[in-house]
Symmetry: C2
Subunit: 131 residues, 2 copies
Amino acid sequence: MGTKKENSTNSINAQYLTQECDLTYAVCKIGGRWKLLILCKLENGKLRFSEIRRRIPGITERMLTLQLREMEKDGLVKRTVYAEVPPRVDYELTEIAEELVPIWKQLDQWGKKHRELIQSQIVPVECNHEN
Amino acid sequence: MGTKKENSTNSINAQYLTQECDLTYAVCKIGGRWKLLILCKLENGKLRFSEIRRRIPGITERMLTLQLREMEKDGLVKRTVYAEVPPRVDYELTEIAEELVPIWKQLDQWGKKHRELIQSQIVPVECNHEN
DNA sequence: CCGTATCCTAAAAGATACTG
DNA sequence: CAGTATCTTTTAGGATACGG
């Protein structure tokens, strides 16, 4: 105890961000493999821990917890614990996180477009007999 | 030789992307610590290797090369080599990468806003005598 | 000038078991 | 249900030296 560790993903934060450009700052806050993906699940309202989890195939509980905690700390999600048995916790976007919605929508669109573009280019040299 | 390695940052690519959502795909293409930062330097036109390098404090040649190569492969930057001595190489955004410009601009704006917001919240308990 | 090649460290992420 | 706690693997990224 006392040895803080395992607290932050995107540890770029500490050094590089204090005076760095806002883009780098933003990337550190919402970058990484999971964050945007988690946030976008909350786009339509509150979700419970297990609901988020089910919507993100492949994420472990540990990772989800880690990312959620970090985003809570960064003011991106609001965590609400209900004093019930069995326990119930839900997560929702904060105002500042809501402002990211258009960004990830565009990014999603871009991803789709890029993927299609790339796929149309990699027409294999040897013709695929499937078609 | 033959053992491919050290080829990809964001190696999430391989497995998770084939059928994954477009957002994850996009994150893999332009995520990571450096890519957006590099791309945005090219926003106003071609730049040489050394120029990019100078504009990104803290990046090593190795990292810059790695990221540029990967983005070239992914169709995000176009690399042009001039047969001169001393050698000259420049990089520019591809069309599909140009479409990211509004996205990183918004992200930059968001970063600025978030940073200010957070800073205004962390008003220290003990008043700072500097002001 | 524009990179590679090696070697290395530190994070991120995964597997698994356990708990209030 | 909603997490922690460990442990291990994998990957990103850095330092440095050298090369066409």
